[in-house]
Amino acid sequence: MKPKLALYWASSCGGCEIAVVDIEAKILDVADFFDIVFWPCIMDFKYKDVEAMPDGDITLTLFNGAIRTSENEYLAKLLRAKSKVMVAFGSCAYEGCIPALANFYDKKKIFECNYINSPSLQESSKNVFPQTHTQMPEGEIEIPEFWNTVKSLDQVVDVDYYVPGCPPQSTQIIAVVEAVIDILKNGKPLPPKGTILGAGEKTICEECTRERKEKKIKKFYRPQEIIPNPDECLLDQGIVCMGPATRSGCDALCIKANMGCRGCYGPPPNVLDQGAKMVSALSSVIDSTDPKEVRDIIKTIADPLGTFYRFSMAHSIFHRVQKMEEEEK
């Protein structure tokens, strides 16, 4: 009997699904080796098909997407129970990613923005908020509940492995697929629980081939403000590059395109918090010892929080922006 494979998308953009299909002919090996039992983006499966399976029946689930709604959480718990190995696949499931930027606000603020203040709302539909249960002549309609905070997969269920990246690079997906097939086919031992698969053990800086000098930064630039020299370290040129705070594995993809790394592979090994790591890295390169000037230089970084936690807000130490203390009073 073939091992069983499931893929699911929770709160995600769909890019991870594309990335899986992007492994080109390798997908045929996947289809050949596995019995695909659940993959709603590609084939017609229903939740009740999964509900009917015995526990632990699925060999491997690749779960992408963050946990934003009650439906996301229900599927995470359901698939966890039905799967032997649960993988948080891609940045959203691993650490919240773009959906978790909503953790700068709360449910109330998001609803106000969408259902009261959105300029595209018609007058008649203003102030109409989604209800989880609505009675219609044909029966009751149920839609998922919207949680206050976006969570990573491991904040709601037990996760065995992680594959970082927004999305994971196809070469890395191929390597993971080959390793999994090798393990299952040849009875090899599984890697230790919690292992980050399909990525390196260094920082992007260590993969980067640009020339580095002593860094002395008086002002930070946004990418559109200067034309960076393609051979020199971007951070040396004052462009915020997340290379020092990001795990290797993508082969410094963005940097090769003359763009600063945005941090999509998450924090490097032994780093708890990508934002804190960036604070540390940038504090070393700011060229001033005067508190006021230091502050002014930091202020030239547009939106430090959103930039440093673009991918890892849910998994950061604080998980979300807290209410302003003044607001409480």
Partner: protein
């Protein structure tokens, strides 16, 4: 909630990261000189204020500190020559960071206190305790 806690004998928790060569010794001097310093301070000795990684600070807040105090050698006196310059920049950065996170940056305080300034250590901790009492307990939203 915070008002209630303040009245119900709430005592703030203050985590203090003190550099071994200056502020820690200053705190020691405050002790042997029998100066009154804040009893709410939990001291963590580090070799240099530059050893305090920003993640230590975020983690300490998350784990229950209501205020965090960093003490280092005066500028120019760091045992490792430049550690405290780095600290200065990090703390400025973290204050902006905390504010963006919705946490009052007054909960984080940096002071340069030498080994001979036991009185400054005592006065600073008392003043900081007062400040944190005014701000009340730090609570996190889920």
């Amino acid at each position: 909630m915070s008002e209630e806690k303040k009245q119900n004998g709430w005592n703030p928790k203050i985590a203090a990261f003190l550099c071994n060569w200056c502020t820690y010794t200053g705190a020691d001097l405050a002790g042997v000189s029998r100066l009154k310093s804040s009893p709410c301070v939990r001291i963590i000795r580090v070799m240099c204020s530059g050893r305090v990684d920003p993640s230590f600070i975020l983690k300490a807040f998350k784990k229950g500190a209501d205020g965090i105090f960093i003490g280092g050698c005066h500028i120019g006196d760091c045992h490792y020559s430049e550690g405290n310059y780095k600290t200065l920049r990090r703390i400025e950065f973290l204050k902006i960071f905390l504010e963006d996170f919705g946490i009052d940056p007054k909960r984080l305080r940096l002071e340069w206190i030498s080994a001979s300034e036991g009185d400054k250590y005592a006065a600073t901790t008392l003043d900081f305790e007062k400040q944190i009492r005014e701000l009340g307990p730090l609570t996190f939203m889920n």
